[in-house]
Subunit: 352 residues, 2 copies
């Protein structure tokens, strides 16, 4: 920290993203990317003609893109807004709906950015511990007097909450916004989008980084009642009005329009996940019931940190969190069948 850095943020701990080696030398199973390229329409959409138009600003309202997302989810455009990845969208929601008097409530084991954002925004965290088996204790979610973050499926556990439980949370916190972070919902979870018309306090946040193979394009979106969406846009236009670039808008539209490809990719990932989970169980691994595009696995023989390092030596990157209740687990992205077979072979060689 330089002597000029604001003292108000001296305790800020930035988020550490998963390793992103740029030379493709690893089998990358550490940042929950899709193993499939974007939909064929994305390649068509990013044409030379469109690249040559980059001298013009993007549409700050991202009208065509929000319309495409709204159409896909059976919503009206004013129920949708977009951002530079769901990270930015989630940050906007925290900035809009939390403050020093309105904490953010979230699980003790979940996406690490929530804590960092609260620290940056001077928003208190209300931590709701998961049970010993990593499942959510819904009894904790009543009358929180806080903005509520429900990560569904949760990360890095992959465990889902049924829609009935989400409804309970919405009803138990009628005077606070409930954000459902559905980054991983498309691989077998139940989306809360269907509840938007009935709950004015519901915001659903999704991303194109996982199920739509666009991690490198950065596109996330929020869906909810038009008033909440207008609130988020108020933050967006006070921060960076042109937050989504031209080519990402085009990629997002093309990805939304190819439902068959989306279903094929997410279905293949889910099938691979379930096959690998069964094999790992047979090998003696402990697993949660992940409905996401990753597995949350514990070897009965090799500690998590050691197994992470040994896999890396073998050219396979997975994610290890050196934190209480997580240190013996690995979060393993579900890649292609070939990648997962290489993982299984490596684990067997290591005696895991």
């Amino acid at each position: 920290m330089s002597r000029f850095f604001t003292k108000t943020l001296s305790a800020l701990q930035p988020y550490t993203p998963g390793e992103q080696p740029q030379n493709m030398q690893y089998i990358k199973l550490n940042t929950n990317e899709s193993p499939f390229p974007p939909a064929p329409g994305v390649l068509d959409a990013i044409s030379a003609e469109e690249v040559s138009k980059l001298y013009l600003y993007s549409d700050p309202d991202c009208k065509a893109l929000t319309e495409a997302i709204a159409k896909r989810y059976g919503l009206r455009p004013e129920q949708v807004t977009v951002g530079n990845g769901s990270d930015e969208v989630l940050w906007f929601t925290l900035r809009a709906f939390c403050d020093e008097q309105t904490p953010l409530a979230y699980s003790d084991i979940t996406y690490g950015c929530y804590k960092t954002w609260c620290s940056m925004l001077n928003v208190p965290s209300k931590i709701l511990p998961l049970k010993d088996d990593y499942s959510v204790d819904t009894a904790l979610y009543r009358g929180l007097n806080a903005t509520v973050m429900v990560t569904n499926p949760n990360a890095p556990t992959g465990i889902c909450l049924p829609l009935a439980d989400i409804e309970d949370v919405l009803r138990a916190n009628p005077d606070n916004v409930v954000i459902v972070d559905e980054a991983y919902v498309d691989f077998g979870g139940e989306s809360a989008v269907s509840l938007i018309e009935r709950y004015e306090n519901l915001l659903v946040v999704q991303t194109c980084s996982k199920s739509r193979s666009l991690a490198g394009a950065r596109l996330g979106f929020a869906m909810g009642n038009p008033e909440l969406i207008a609130d988020i846009n108020r933050i967006k236009f006070s921060f960076n009005p042109y937050n989504v670039n031209r080519l990402t808008c085009l990629a997002g539209i093309a990805a939304m329009e190819d439902e068959d490809y989306f279903r094929a990719c997410t279905g293949a990932v889910a099938a691979t996940r379930d096959r690998v989970a069964a094999e790992l169980k047979e090998m003696g691994f402990a697993l949660t019931d992940s409905r996401a595009n990753f597995l949350f696995a514990e070897s009965s023989r090799i500690p998590g940190g050691e197994l992470y390092r040994k896999l890396k030596e073998k050219g396979i990157l997975v994610r290890h969190f050196d934190k209480p209740r997580l240190e013996n687990r690995l979060r393993i992205t579900v890649g292609s069948d070939r990648q997962m077979d290489a993982l299984l072979a490596a684990l067997r060689e290591l005696g895991a």
Copy 2:
């Protein structure tokens, strides 16, 4: 505003970007875009192969891009960081170097986002009035006890500060960061990059939106001593680690590497600007000595708001700010020669 929106930001006034009609029906001279397409290398860089890699995250460190920028400006990579447009980079600097006790000092007439960002971040504004002729009163810039924003050239006036004055500001505020926003410097201004090695409190912020024809790709960058850059990165990694997408990284590298194209485009814009300025003066317009890619012009015959509307009726969009000291002026982007000839013809027809 919904009933859920934080009361702490109830006074927030979002920035209003210039009109961005999406149907290309206007001659667009209102948002200071380049009239030229991106460098030919940009089209090559955004290949089908690269688009098909969008399923992978971008490099959070943007290593190749920061290296290309550093090389272009004779710096080391650790003296550079990048963001989703210079709007994001500037916001990061405000978040890093301002707080309730450390105001931001800036001109009364300048880029409108500074005020919005201060309001969002609860940072006091220390307003430094321009002189009657819109020039900077450098006597006001001594011992400010504030983070200082110098917009050079200023917008919407286009007026430059010489480097000697920038050095005076740096020396007069040794315990505060001085941010030089050089969004428009490449059309005839003098960059403060050459001062970076000598002043630890200097940050230079530039953008690829104007002089590098990449407004729609969203890419801005900050240059300064490695400690300040690390401070900015601390904010970036606490907000949105993957803030610059894959294709924008590639576009930025290609743009940085084509110096000839950069010089040809910026030279052509400057020549057109000076030609049109001379013609407008002959027609009786009052003009500042703009070194940017826009003119700041006042008709002696037609009030600013009326002239803006009449030009729009004729299919030409310029920017009008309905604010004190600006209401009779138009900010006119310097487009292609053909676009500017159409503008001049329209102004003559209107009797302006």
